[in-house]
Point group: C2
Chain length 303, copies 2
């Protein structure tokens, strides 16, 4: 794979940025990669493990002279970071981000960017329940989608270059508008995460079932919820606060359906339950056929 | 490992029974294993793949002369099957089961068993989203708990032999009373399954987000829900109908918590959300430390 950018700056050095760095290096996609993290401890860690060619002492310094600046910070601080780097952006540079919410990020970031800078929001659908600079690995994006949300009047060449970068890091890219992105993600990610957090909280709170029982007997389905509910708290707080409407809409639908199933249980309507469960099983089949998971019979078992 | 029973009968040849067969053979835990499935097709498959030393044409025939008979059928038909085998049980034999619900199964099965037969209900906390006679594999129970629910006046020797069998198949055993079992499982398994089924149903139902988008972009959390929601519909219908009270109680608690988090999102109470998510993260840590999952950063990625 050939070099796509001379200089890339990664602002925020958590799971996504650190994985981007290793994926960029794996394929030689950029000449130099600078990085910045707000916490001195994270910057020290980055230097220690060789994360980024150059770790800078400010976001503005990292962004200076970069052809691409990627904001990899929690959604709630994207606007502040954009304001910090704006004066140092070089004309013709591209700014992108990796936030899980798009409309709110665009609203927060776009006003700060000077004329002549291209804004190409993006969202890689990849992650693990780990976070921080040590959590990254080059393969995180392999075979995962990265959604690109071009802005009105986006320079097509700038958009395509961002897409090439993600493809070079192993992803498949797809373009989508911001509102649709936020609705799709509310369904496939944001509502499921809130539900998992809730269920884990309930389990922990239940006095008649001890913590140790919940933990010991988690293999029976609950374990996958705990995995989801172990994701970064700051990131997820910001996601929910910034994709409020779509998330609340989906949760409303969810509650409605859950009440219908609870009623079926209460009244002993086995037919309704069986029909519902048969239908949902078919959706799983579709996901396996789409190559987004394997059919291996190792439910909940990691290697 | 030495032989624990001369003759074991497996009634119902799905994922659990077929895994038991391979696990028994792996360690030579029984002399002969007979099997029976209601459907002729399943019996044919079993004969074809060498599942069971002898596949019988009735449950009674399979149970005849067995030292241990394990009911591996959906919870809703345990009572019927117990009635069918009762006349053929040999004096001193042990009857066990693998149902995910214990109080209702005991109530359905116990009255049919003749005096002199030991009833030792059990529940292996292991499974995959696949079902049927071809789904089994010898390693399914390795390092998983099997809960044993001894009955009042259970013969201790009979209980311990069942425990030895499960340990021989790779499990760790633990004794528990039926009501507590049903509550613990409602938290760690039954409620999470219903929630996963519901969320997958909602996603599918949402016309503005096409099926293909839900499937393509499932990597972001939703995929784990679809895996859970792909489990056997008949088994799960019976679980909910037979663990009605505990499941509805936990779902009630769940809804209450979910409403509180929804309110926090609506009012923008980031502190509440952050605190909640930080707390649930700690629970995950406990599960990893208990050896019930690994810390490998491959969230949602199967091999």
């Amino acid at each position: 794979m050939s070099q796509i950018y001379d200089r890339v700056a990664l602002i925020g050095l958590g799971l996504i940025a650190s994985s981007m760095y290793w994926a960029i290096k794996r394929s030689g996609l950029a000449g130099e990669v600078t990085g910045y993290a707000r916490s001195a401890e994270t910057r020290d860690t980055a230097r220690e493990i060789g994360l980024c060619d150059r770790v800078c002492e400010s976001a503005a310094e990292a962004a200076e002279g970069a052809d691409l600046v990627v904001l990899c910070v929690p959604v709630g601080v994207m606007g502040d970071v954009a304001a910090q780097i704006a004066p140092n952006l070089k004309p013709g540079a591209t700014v992108s981000d990796v936030g899980s919410v798009k409309a709110a990020v665009i609203e927060a970031v776009a006003p700060h960017l000077p004329e002549g800078v291209h804004f190409v929001p993006a969202h890689p659908l990849a992650g693990t329940e780990h976070s921080g600079p040590r959590a990254g690995f080059a393969e995180l994006f392999d075979n995962r989608f990265c959604l690109i949300v071009p802005q009105q009047g986006s320079d097509r060449a700038a958009v395509e270059r961002v897409e090439q970068l993600w493809q070079g890091m192993g992803s498949e890219t797809e373009e989508m508008d911001a509102d649709h992105h936020d609705l799709v993600l509310a369904v496939t990610s944001h509502a499921p995460h809130l539900i998992a957090y809730t269920m884990v909280g309930v389990a922990d709170d239940l006095r008649r079932v001890t913590d140790s029982e919940v933990i010991k007997f988690s293999a029976a389905g609950f374990r996958d919820f705990t995995r989801i509910a172990a994701s970064d708290p700051t990131m997820w707080r910001d996601v929910f606060l910034n994709n409020k409407n779509a998330t609340l809409e989906i949760l409303g639908r969810f509650t409605e359906e859950l009440f219908a199933l609870q009623r079926a249980i209460r009244t002993g309507d086995g037919e309704h339950l069986h029909e519902y469960f048969t239908h949902t099983r078919a959706i799983r089949r579709g996901i396996i056929e789409a190559g987004q998971d394997t059919d291996a019979p190792d439910f909940g078992r990691s290697k």
